[in-house]
């Protein structure tokens, strides 16, 4: 069994934004499933923790939500990305890629490169 990583709140928010950006409006369960699938089940979202994050994003105005019908025809809350959320996603994606690149270079650096 693979070791599963806890998801930091900030990362989770970014994943939610990206998921909604790629897949369009989704309910909470759908978002949780996609995050699990895309991360190759490495991230077992302690699925419930998603909901406070969704509320936070909604209060910030990055996403909006409405009631709709789920695939088994029950009432479910659907979340969608707002324009502001899309902007936020762009900025954070850049930040993240920059950080990742720096950390990557850091790990690749060997002793002889520095001499």
């Amino acid at each position: 069994m693979k070791q599963k990583t806890d998801v930091l709140q900030g990362t989770l928010a970014l994943m939610v934004l990206k998921t909604l950006d790629v897949l369009g409006p989704l309910h909470g369960y759908g978002i949780a499933r996609r995050i699990e699938q895309i991360s190759g089940d490495l991230l077992a979202v302690n699925q419930g923790t998603l909901y406070p994050v969704l509320l936070k994003l909604e209060q910030e105005g990055a996403i909006a939500s409405d009631w709709g019908a789920s695939e088994n025809n029950r009432r479910a809350r659907f979340y969608r990305l707002t324009r502001e959320g899309r902007k936020q996603l762009q900025v954070e994606t850049q930040d993240w890629q920059q950080t990742a690149a720096i950390i990557g270079r850091f790990f690749e650096a060997k002793a002889e490169d520095l001499s």
Binding site: H27, G28, Y29, A32, R33, A44, N46, Q47, G48, T49, Y51, P52, L55, K56, Q59, E60, G61, A62, S70, E71, N72, R74, R75, A76, R77, E84, Q88
Partner: protein, 286 residues
């Protein structure tokens, strides 16, 4: 900007007590139902599928708590409040001094404001108050006018409709066996006409009532004074009361909204004693 928006939403939520509990409960239910269905498709027995779904969802209690904390701010406020109360209780000396300082400061300001409010901000409750003017002397002279000055000004006035004079004094009033002191406003006979006031009861006096020194032994009561000392007795008109041991006849009661020129409220109006060297303020009406 984002955190500001989030902050305002949370404050609004806290103040309005908007409840999202129902929404969260419904979302959790739906979430677990979907996960159960997925587990059943994967081959689990329904009961086991639901158990796994609940396990995977995590501790509902702690999620609800996070959700609440995110929704509003009541917890933060309460904690701050409790903490400050604890600190205050720990140092009672400081607390008492602080509370006294605040009380005195607020009290003093309230008194100053109420005086300023009555003196400057509150309009004189008379018709067409906007056309009233106070006549002042040059800034190096005394503030008030002598009565002879007033007479000169009045007789040569061509600019204003009416020129009235008034002065205040504390006097002993005896309404029958129970003497007390009250503010008396000494006013010229044209005072009520100049301010365009109508009597509440009886009549007000006019310039035609003036017949020289000490000639007008009558007074008009303020409505508040009539209420407190005569218990709204309409038979008060025509009664004789002692003002500084001289008899005066009550001719009427002023309207309730008119409380005189300067606080404390003047309670009674009577014509001035002309032979006295009074100082007068002037008020004139265009």
């Amino acid at each position: 900007m984002r955190s500001l928006r989030r902050f305002f939403t949370r404050v609004v939520n806290s103040v309005t007590g908007r409840v999202h509990d129902e929404r969260l409960r419904e979302e959790i239910e739906e979430h677990i139902a979907l996960q159960t269905a997925e587990n059943v498709r994967a081959g689990l027995a329904p009961v086991e599928a639901r158990r796994q779904a609940i396990l995977k969802f995590g501790a509902v209690e702690s999620i609800q708590e996070d959700y609440h904390a995110e929704r509003g701010m009541q917890f933060i406020f309460l904690q701050d409040l409790r903490f400050s109360l604890r600190v205050l209780r720990k140092s009672p000396g400081f607390t008492i001094v602080a509370i006294l300082t605040l009380a005195l400061g607020i009290g003093a300001n309230a008194i100053v404001f109420s005086v300023m409010n009555a003196l400057i901000l509150r309009p004189l409750n008379v018709p067409q108050a906007e056309s009233l003017y106070q006549l002042m002397r040059g800034k190096d002279k005394a503030g008030n006018h002598s009565f002879p000055d007033y007479l000169d000004l009045r007789d040569r006035n061509r600019t204003f409709d009416e020129l009235v004079a008034y002065d205040g004094a504390l006097a002993g009033i005896d309404t029958g066996g129970n003497p007390s002191s009250a503010w008396v406003e000494l006013v010229t006979g044209n005072y009520f006409d100049g301010l365009r006031l109508q009597p509440y009861l009886g009549r007000l006096f006019h310039p035609s009532d003036e017949h020289g020194a000490n000639s007008a032994p009558y007074i008009v009561l303020a409505h508040a004074y009539w209420h407190s000392h005569f218990h709204d007795d309409p038979g008060v008109v025509g009664r004789v009361v002692q003002v500084n041991k001289n008899p005066f006849t009550i001719v009427g009661v002023a309207p309730p909204e008119f409380r005189g020129r300067i606080p404390p409220p003047r309670l009674i109006w009577r014509p001035p004693l002309f032979h006295q060297a009074q100082q007068f303020d002037l008020l004139r009406l265009r």
